[in-house]
């Protein structure tokens, strides 16, 4: 059983590298993406996959059952809360009308619903259904 600590270290560093790569990609994405919603699609992956694989690395590295249970609870918590907060910010940012969509945006299906919800924030001709050209 001499290879057991080596295997544990290798698995720990493998999951550390996966999580770090996702966090670095999230940083690059929030700096370079042209739009609020594209930026959010990057940062939510850092919240779920990056922290998730770092917590899997913690679960492999620590030997106590309390630490493993805590890391598992943190994974479940991040999986639940990260999409919820991304949904709330995306909806609020769209309805706020400060956010301009990317110039190459193809489909905007939320527009007619948002026009019904907050009619004072839109131009009068924005209520029409905006669908891609067939």
């Amino acid at each position: 059983m001499d290879w057991m600590p080596i295997l544990r270290d290798v698995l720990t560093y493998l999951f550390l590298l996966i999580g770090t790569v996702f966090c670095l990609i999230a940083g690059l994405g929030i700096l370079r993406m042209p739009d609020l919603f594209l930026r959010m699609s990057m940062t939510t992956k850092a919240g779920t996959i990056g922290i998730g694989s770092l917590m899997i690395a913690c679960m492999i590295h620590f030997d106590e059952s309390a630490a493993i249970a805590k890391a598992f609870a943190i994974i479940i918590f991040m999986l639940i809360t990260s999409p919820v907060s991304a949904h709330m910010i995306g909806r609020a940012g769209y309805l706020d009308r400060d956010v301009t969509l990317w110039s190459k945006t193809h489909t905007d299906q939320f527009k007619s619903y948002a026009f019904k919800q907050r009619p004072g924030r839109f131009a009068p001709d924005d209520g029409a259904e905006h669908s891609p050209s067939k």
Binding site: D9, T12, Y13, L16, L17, G19, T20, V21, C23, L24, A26, G27, L28, I30, L31, L36, R39, M40, T43, A46, G47, G50, I51, L54, M55, A57, C58, H61, F62, E64, A66, A67, K70, A71, A73, I74, F77, M78, T81, V84, S85, M88, I89, R91, A92, G93, L95, D96, D98, V99, T100, R118, R121
Partner: protein, 89 residues
């Protein structure tokens, strides 16, 4: 330099680079929602750095800190989203 030291240095450097990029978006963000997303990413990267520090220093107690920071950042993000949605009505 052993392989352990090299891997720890590379992961810390990558996480801090992501933190710097998120802070730059927090400074220049065109709208308030961009800044809130950047703040969310800053807290996620802080959680990552704390978890990595827990593995490097072999302290399992730091996972409690991770749980508290995750809960606080979620509540702050939800509060900011509600404020953005209702501030103009």
């Amino acid at each position: 330099m052993t392989l352990d030291n090299l891997l720890v240095m590379v992961t810390f450097t990558a996480l801090v680079a992501g933190l710097v990029m998120a802070f730059y978006r927090l400074l220049i963000g065109p709208s308030l929602a961009d800044r809130v997303v950047a703040m969310d990413l800053v807290s996620a990267l802080t959680i990552s750095i704390i978890a990595l520090f827990a593995i490097v220093t072999d302290e399992a107690v730091l996972l409690d800190v991770v749980a508290v920071v995750a809960l606080t950042s979620f509540l702050g993000t939800i509060a900011f989203a509600y404020y953005i949605e209702v501030r103009k009505t």
